[in-house]
Each structure stands twice: as structure tokens, then as C-alpha cells.
């Protein structure tokens, strides 16, 4: 359940920004969660609703933007999509695939009023 810690991290960033911007409430929180990150979006939504219950973001809608996984073959160099942290190169069949994108867990923006 490290989604709870992540939800707290998100809330911290959101509340800091909301305070700086003198927001009355946070309407939307947009996150980017990579396909290869260790995050379960449904669990994150649940945890965020729980930790945000009291503050300025209590009614905020969480929008999770999926970032597709991508990688590069260390054997032949081909860049390709990756659905998991490991895989087989579509060109040469090597297992030496190095993930290059899709591990992000970021707060992109918030909508406030």
C-alpha cells in the first residue's frame, strides 16, 4: 500500500501550490503515471480521496494520464514500446531490454479557483 505515501506526496504538492496561488478550492488534479511505474491507479484514487478529505482539495477530481512504457534493446539498439519492465526485443529476440520511458509518477497540473 505505498499508494498511501504517494497520495500524501501528491497532496503536499497540490496544497503547497494552492496556498501559493491563493486558491479557494482545487477542482482537478492531473497526474502522469507511467505504465512501468509501480502504481495501481485505482488504489491511488482511493488513497487520494482519503488523504484529501479535510483540506482545499477535498472535492478534487483526480485525472490520471497514462504514459506508455518504452524501451531500447541493448543488443540491437531498437527503440520499442514495452508493456512490462522486461520483455523480448521485437527485432532480434534478445531479453536485454532497457526501459527508457513510462516510469514517471508526476503531478502535471491542478485546476483551481
Amino acid at each position: 500500500m505505498h499508494e498511501m505515501s504517494l497520495a500524501e506526496g501528491i497532496l503536499q504538492l497540490v496544497e503547497e501550490t494552492a496556498r501559493r496561488e491563493n486558491a479557494r478550492r482545487v477542482k482537478t488534479v492531473v497526474l502522469e503515471i507511467g505504465q512501468l511505474s509501480a502504481v495501481e491507479p485505482a488504489a491511488l484514487e482511493f488513497c487520494f480521496a482519503a488523504v484529501a478529505a479535510e483540506g482545499v482539495a477535498r472535492a478534487a477530481r483526480l485525472v490520471i494520464v497514462d504514459v506508455p512504457g518504452s524501451g531500447k534493446c541493448l543488443a540491437c539498439g531498437l527503440a520499442q514500446p514495452m508493456a512490462a519492465l522486461f520483455g523480448v526485443c521485437t527485432a532480434c529476440g534478445s531479453h536485454r531490454l532497457q526501459p527508457t520511458g513510462g516510469s514517471e509518477m508526476r503531478v502535471r497540473e491542478i485546476e483551481i479557483e
Binding site: 477542482k27 514517471e104 483551481i112 479557483e113
Partner: protein, 308 residues
């Protein structure tokens, strides 16, 4: 990837084939920019806090809701990573070599630590942080070896984080050029995401588990630099295929360093211990470089002063 427009900056580089972005400003002007080789996202003299065009309607209409969007663009773990960097700086300035030991429950982390400490404690100062949800029994086992240990109970938490380890550093005050060992909470999932400031994560897999564990819990095997395949003295009695387990681990992490060991019989521990000693040596070297660089700076400043 560019997180504003979703284009693959850094992945595809085609010379002369930059793509364009169009956007609307608060005053209604529409214009576009091409992507440069290293592109950036900019604001046109209007800070995000006064940009009325950033709302959902892309324009300001008096009387309408003043909803607006504020860019944050920050890593969710930014806070933890800042604490972790602080810890790493602490270690590096003092020439300390820090390891974060992770595994599922029961893989033999504590026994392995006890054996490692027994073999090294006459050569190097050692301090240990023990992470568990409850009890201090692990810290007591470590203290019985004669080195300093601090138990962190995470309560309902499932992992140690950079903040907790920072506090442990204040309490333990590890010696310069010493070995700092962190035994994380027994959990193959969450500790993978939390940097503690260690130099390497060491994952322990025991042969009484399954060969496919690296494929089932890839995040952890990906995050680790070293795999200790533990309880290898039991291999003759099990159907565990150690070669397959290693191959699976390398599928997830091609650069993994692997040692086959048995903490209880002591088999294979020599290679693991030499790896630690090499790490200690590297940290000492790095510290000497920093000390030497400082000495050179001081000497340079003194020369300047003398010349005046």
C-alpha cells in the same frame, strides 16, 4: 517524453524535422512554435498566476468562474528524493558506504546481516538500521553482534523512506569511512520506489521461494544492483533451478551482479564480503579526492593571500 505536449523528446531525434505547437494567448493571439533540438516550454511574459487564458475556456469572461490551471510538473516522490539526496551527501562527505537490503519476508536478511557483520566488524565500523512494522527483535539480534543498531517501526507503513533514515542518521551518527546497512521492511513491492540515499539496493531471494519471483516482482529486481541468492545450502533438497532464477533476474535487470550464498553455512559469502570491501574502498577514495580538492583550494587561497 515532453510532459506538456506528449512528444517524444530525447527518444526520436530527426534533424530538421521539428514539429510545431500552436497556442492561444490571453489576448486572443494564436501562434505556433517549432520544437528545437532541446525544447522548452515558456510563458510569454505573463506568469502562470495572471494568465486568464489558462482556464478551461482559454479566455477570461467577467463573471464566469475563475477556474485556472497551474502547472506543477513535479515528481510525486520529489520530497522523498530530496531527503534521500541529503542522506547520500551525508554518506559521501564522510566516506560511508551505505546499502539498502530488501527482500520478501523470510528470505534471510537478518541472518545474512548478522553473518556479514561478524565477518567485517573487526575491519570496519558498522551501524545498522532495522525496518519492521512492529517489534525490535531484529535490532536486538544485530546488537548482540556488538554493533550499533536502531529499530524503526513503520507501524502501518510498508517501507522505510528517506525522512526516516535521515532521522536514524542523527541518532546513530555513523563513523567516518564506515559501513551503513539498512534492512528494509520485508516487502518486495513498495521499498523499490523509495530511495533512502543508499549507494546500492541489494535484493535477497532465497531458494525456498520461486524461480519466477523476479518476473512477479520486477520493480524490486529492477531497482537493485545486487542479487544475493540465499540458502543455497538447501539446493540439493529442493527442485529450485538456480540458473533459471538468475536468468529471470537478468531478464528484468541485465546489469545485476549476482552472488550465490548461504548465510547459515557461510558458503559463497567471501565474494559478497569482497564486494562490500571494494565499495568501502571506493567511498574512501571519493572522500580523499574531496579532501585533497579542499586542501588544494585552501593552498591556492593562501598563496593568493600571501601575494597580496
Amino acid at each position: 517524453m515532453c510532459t506538456v505536449c506528449g512528444c517524444g523528446e530525447g527518444e526520436t531525434k530527426i534533424e530538421g524535422a521539428d514539429h510545431a505547437h500552436q497556442h492561444v494567448h490571453a489576448d486572443g493571439t494564436v501562434h505556433s512554435h517549432t520544437h528545437q533540438y532541446k525544447h522548452h516550454h515558456h510563458e510569454h511574459g505573463v506568469g502562470g498566476d495572471l494568465d486568464f487564458g489558462a482556464g478551461p475556456a482559454r479566455a477570461h469572461v467577467p463573471g464566469m468562474s475563475q477556474a485556472r490551471t497551474v502547472q506543477i510538473e513535479q515528481d510525486i516522490l520529489a520530497k522523498n528524493n530530496a531527503y534521500a539526496s541529503e542522506n547520500r551527501r551525508y554518506f559521501d562527505e564522510r566516506g560511508i558506504f551505505a546499502l539498502n537490503l530488501v527482500s520478501g519476508p523470510g528470505a534471510g536478511k537478518t541472518t545474512l546481516l548478522v553473518k556479514t557483520i561478524a565477518a567485517l566488524k573487526d575491519k570496519v565500523a558498522i551501524s545498522v538500521v532495522e525496518g519492521d512494522q512492529q517489534t525490535s527483535s531484529d535490532a536486538e539480534r544485530i546488537r548482540a553482534t556488538g554493533v550499533a543498531a536502531l529499530q524503526i517501526n513503520t507501524g502501518k507503513g510498508c517501507h522505510l523512506d528517506g525522512y526516516m533514515v535521515g532521522h536514524a542518521l542523527e541518532r546513530l551518527r555513523p563513523a567516518e569511512e564506515s559501513l551503513f546497512l539498512i534492512e528494509n521492511v520485508g516487502n518486495l513491492v513498495c521499498p523499490a520506489a523509495f530511495d533512502l540515499g543508499e549507494h546500492h539496493k541489494v535484493v535477497i531471494l532465497s531458494v525456498t521461494e520461486g524461480e519466477d519471483k523476479p518476473l512477479k516482482y520486477p520493480d524490486m529486481f529492477r531497482a537493485a544492483d545486487v542479487l544475493l541468492l540465499n540458502k543455497c545450502d538447501l539446493l540439493p533438497y529442493l527442485e529450485f533451478d538456480a540458473d533459471l532464477a538468475e536468468a529471470n533476474a537478468r531478464r528484468v535487470n541485465p546489469d545485476l551482479t549476482i552472488f550465490r550464498v548461504s548465510a547459515s553455512s557461510g558458503d559463497g559469502l567471501a565474494a559478497w564480503l569482497s564486494w562490500i570491501e571494494a565499495g568501502l574502498e571506493t567511498q574512501r577514495g571519493k572522500r580523499m579526492e574531496t579532501v585533497d580538492a579542499l586542501k588544494r583550494r585552501v593552498a591556492g587561497l593562501e598563496r593568493k593571500l600571501a601575494a597580496n
